[in-house]
Subunit: 272 residues, 2 copies
Amino acid sequence: METFFSFLERRVDDCTSLLCIGLDPHSADLEYPTATAAYEFSVNLVRQTAPYAAAFKPNAAFFEQFGADGWTALKEVIHAIQDESERMGSMIPVILDAKRGDISSTADAYARAAFDALGAHCITLSPYLGRDSIDPFIKDQEKGVFLLCKTSNPGSSDLQDIPLEGGELLYERVARLARTWNTRNNIGLVVGATQPEALARVRALAPEMWFLSPGVGAQGGELELAMLAGLRKDHRGMLLPVSRAISRSPNPARAAADLRDQIIHIQSGMEH
Amino acid sequence: METFFSFLERRVDDCTSLLCIGLDPHSADLEYPTATAAYEFSVNLVRQTAPYAAAFKPNAAFFEQFGADGWTALKEVIHAIQDESERMGSMIPVILDAKRGDISSTADAYARAAFDALGAHCITLSPYLGRDSIDPFIKDQEKGVFLLCKTSNPGSSDLQDIPLEGGELLYERVARLARTWNTRNNIGLVVGATQPEALARVRALAPEMWFLSPGVGAQGGELELAMLAGLRKDHRGMLLPVSRAISRSPNPARAAADLRDQIIHIQSGMEH
């Protein structure tokens, strides 16, 4: 039976890649700050990097800043990814980076917005409201979620690193809870690539779950540390989102291909 | 110097009300599930209840479910609130219930979406990513945020009630952190009206902060318990959002007036 992660793994095999291309049209990267420019920026990146993309991850914020026109642009970008997938004969999953989280009837409306109105396959969610805020997004096993666990920003320590009664840290509890909620193989965890120790701790708690691990720069060293700490035993189980290191490169296709090759190189080194 | 909460308090005084009218166009409440119907539902509610509204709280999810058209509708609803405010000669704050939360450069784009593209005065945010995910929303002291602390849903206990090392509960830590971050008088807390004990605990930790306390039904008893536990010493400091109990009433204007009067009655009973 197809689940979100069996879909993702098929694509990972098709392109031999763990790279997730972030589509973040920052105003600073656009010639003009308009929804049209955000669309063109994103679609250009999609066309150049699709052969190396295990997934695309548009961030809702950079489209919402342009209001309704931004939402139209976001929907069209997701369409363009589907067109590009069909041309290549291999469907590329779209992870909407939206970090939503609301009570159940409202979560239901957000799920419709992401999966039906926009056509995404997966969404990032905050765990703070608990299980019933996740349920509407995972009832269809072909749709997936990545739950925020340990994020890559400096402020992540404010809550996520708080020690709980018994000694566990909050993000470790989130990982354990998410694992018990993952009965349909469609919940993954956001664990930043900037913190190899956290990656290793979460990997120990959730040996089989997929991670979405942002924070990889152009530095091969950090990438290798993160992969050694976070990969599953099958050398998969970890999507590595990269945005500016590819989009700001003079040749995004080449930058994506190089990163994909670095990842394969590190994976193959682990086999010995 | 004007801050978000001095603006809110002026409106609270102008209308002698702590009522916050929720604008939640659930598909089930619409004749047709369209953005136009969501707009008409919301604007009808705005026109009927404005005299009793300390604030309006549109929930982004119920507009996003209609995609770009929903965003246009949401923007027009916020415009209609401004028009109604001008007609009455008293500005009514608009709290965008969006529960966003992302790393700093992304949070900046969400702040532009809420405050510039949509024209809201305040937004609800998740605390899970920590301080740097809040900063872009509070740098302008005339804009405000309500940070999720203890929510009214059943799943709120999954994370928010976890005991920390030292015995404090997670939502209590969030309240303490938020208080230290509130240097510009523009951060409030979401504390559900369904849990008077949590309201009392958070009130003890944050004696001067504003709460947004959803979960009040048509039952006067619960309302009184919540207000006794959550009001500040000045008998304010608590916004009471109500959605369906007003929107599904045969006479929403009357339902809002009655609730406003119940609130005033409970406040006046506290003065003795």
